[in-house]
């Protein structure tokens, strides 16, 4: 079976982003970029499905400017077989990302689409679910265990109260949580091999979808800063301050 893995190029998770002085957006100039950590987990899971003989081909897809080819190459080095870049300079709402992905699903007919549960830049947590609705596929979001059995996949999900397992008919959407797996490092030979794997570029306009924005970013401001407080020397002093100064106990 084919597995499709949509991946997003985002700011590296170690970088603390700054807001531009004119409050128009965050400042991404010269900031280290990387594959969204949840997408990396999705690639790893797809590779494991292939190693287990369940998946036969892994296709990575990313929607964005040419620079996201870098992250597609990372996915190829980790074990994806081929890649598709849907080229656009626009910042798209998730609904439009999901519509483009729906076209790729129509064309490739994957049995499983593995996405990250959320992109760590927008913190949206919605694209996989939207793609599920558009394709009428069931979904297992926030997955920590994935087991394919015949024409079904069992997904154990990380939910607020603990864990929940659902059984989904294939084809299905799965979005990854942090504990699904620990992604491997790409070996040097695999990084070299990835350079020769197929990567096709398609213009987003080719898909005939209305990509006009659904929302307007009015402004972006820094969060309220918290001042560092005081260092207390003893527990006695701490408890006294919590009781009498902060009045929280």
């Amino acid at each position: 079976m084919k597995v499709l893995v949509p991946i997003k190029r985002v700011i590296d998770y170690n970088v603390k982003v700054r807001v531009k002085p004119d409050n128009s957006n965050v400042d991404l100039t010269n900031v280290k970029m990387a594959i969204n950590p949840f997408c990396e987990i999705a690639v790893e899971e797809a590779v494991r499905l292939k190693e287990a003989g369940v998946a036969t081909e892994i296709i990575a897809v990313s929607i964005g400017s040419k620079s996201c080819q870098e992250q597609l190459r990372t996915a190829l080095a980790l074990g994806a077989d081929r890649a598709i870049q849907i080229d656009t300079e626009l910042t798209l709402d998730s609904i439009n990302i999901a519509k483009l992905l729906q076209k790729v699903v129509d064309e490739e007919q994957p049995q499983i689409v593995l996405l990250g549960k959320q992109a760590i830049d927008s913190d949206n947590n919605q694209t996989g679910q939207m793609l599920g609705a558009l394709t009428s596929m069931p979904q297992g979001t926030f997955a920590s265990i994935v087991k394919v059995e015949g024409d079904k996949v069992n997904v154990t999900r990380e939910v607020d109260g603990g864990l929940q397992t659902v059984a989904l008919n294939l084809p299905a959407i799965i979005t990854t949580d942090l504990r699904l797996n620990e992604p491997r490092y790409a070996s040097l030979p695999n990084i070299m091999k990835a350079k020769r794997k197929p990567l096709v570029v398609k213009a987003a306009e080719e898909f005939g979808i209305d990509l006009s924005p659904r929302s307007n970013l009015v402004k972006v401001t820094p969060p309220a800063v918290r001042e560092a407080g005081v260092i207390v020397e003893t527990i006695e002093e701490l408890v006294e301050k919590l009781r009498n100064e902060a009045k929280v106990i």
Binding site: I120, G161, G162, N169, R179, R226, A228, L242, I249
Partner: protein
């Protein structure tokens, strides 16, 4: 304008998040209805009817909704959507699961995890793990929104809304509930507690979380954890506080053996008072803490328990 709030519940009782999501609806302004979709969920519906500001509670009581599977919920809410300008759900794992399906079926965007309402079409939400705050204006006719409960104070429970039974049954038939392993705890929910004490990698193992329990007992606190503590298997995943775990904003948050990575701070830095206990004076957690103690947690936790 009419607003539909989807209730968060377990069929037996309404989750406190729903009262906060109703508060967001009140801030938008309009006639507010609440949908309770479940199975044998009358008790939850009766509770929802008490939420102040709600005019009507719609009850879809059918086995198809017992576990609020996203596929079935998505179809149900979409069926009802025509009557509403805004559809709101709590940004819990349930709300995050089905709401984007509603948005996609309605062909609109979703505005995720708002923390404030500016106007009927403009909302405030954190991005980049809370390191930036975006003000977003929706251009869609129907606004599909999830609400972060730390942004709103619960409405009162002195209302008396009309309760109306729906006959809608939307069963996609593509997914099934298999089982759930839910953590049973005598302690308050992480999201609802006024005091939270969390342990990190510094706790060394799950056994040592007992050191936090004695303190939590005395303070009526919930216990949380950093991702490192969850990943290491010290405690279950539902205890994770942070960008990709639970977002909390209690009156008092005590971070023990937690370094203060941005992803952790994203989940707790709106707490009223933060206490950090860490043996490394350089740990970033001290930059957000109101009170810090530079000490070995194994020395000071027993002292703290005794002092309370």
């Amino acid at each position: 304008m009419a607003i539909l709030v989807i209730a968060e519940h377990d069929n037996l009782s309404l989750k406190a998040d729903t009262l906060k999501t109703v508060a967001a609806a009140v801030a938008i302004g309009g006639d507010i209805n609440v949908l309770v979709a479940g199975s044998n969920c009358d008790a939850a519906a009766q509770e929802a009817a008490k939420a102040a500001g709600v005019s009507k509670v719609l009850v879809a009581d059918n086995s198809a909704f017992e576990h609020q599977l996203a596929e079935n919920m998505g179809l149900l809410v979409t069926e009802l959507a025509g009557d509403y300008s805004h559809i709101l759900a709590s940004a819990t794992t349930t709300g995050k699961n089905f709401m984007p399906r509603v948005a996609a079926l309605l062909d609109v965007a979703q505005i995720s995890e708002i923390i404030a309402v500016e106007s009927t079409d403009t909302f405030v939400r954190p991005i980049y793990a809370g390191n930036a705050i975006a003000t977003v204006q929706s251009l869609d006719a129907t606004k599909v929104i999830t609400v972060r409960s730390t942004g709103f104070d619960a409405v009162a429970t002195d209302g008396s809304a009309e309760v109306v039974a729906l006959s809608n049954v939307t069963d996609a038939g593509t997914s099934a509930f298999v089982n759930a392993e839910l953590t049973v705890s005598e302690r308050p929910d992480l999201g609802a507690a006024s005091v939270v004490i969390s342990g990190g990698r510094g706790m060394q193992n799950g056994e040592n979380f007992k050191l936090l329990e004695g303190i939590a007992d005395k303070l009526g606190a919930a216990i949380g954890a950093s991702r490192a503590a969850v990943d290491a298997g010290f405690v279950p995943n539902d205890m994770q506080v942070g960008q990709t775990g639970k977002i909390v904003a209690p009156d008092l948050y005590i971070a023990v053996g937690i370094s203060g990575a941005i992803q952790h701070l994203a989940g707790m830095k709106d707490s009223k008072v933060i206490v950090a206990i860490n043996k490394d004076a350089e740990a970033p957690i001290f930059q957000v803490a109101d009170y810090g103690i530079v000490a070995d947690l194994f020395d000071v936790l027993p002292e703290l328990e005794a002092a309370l």
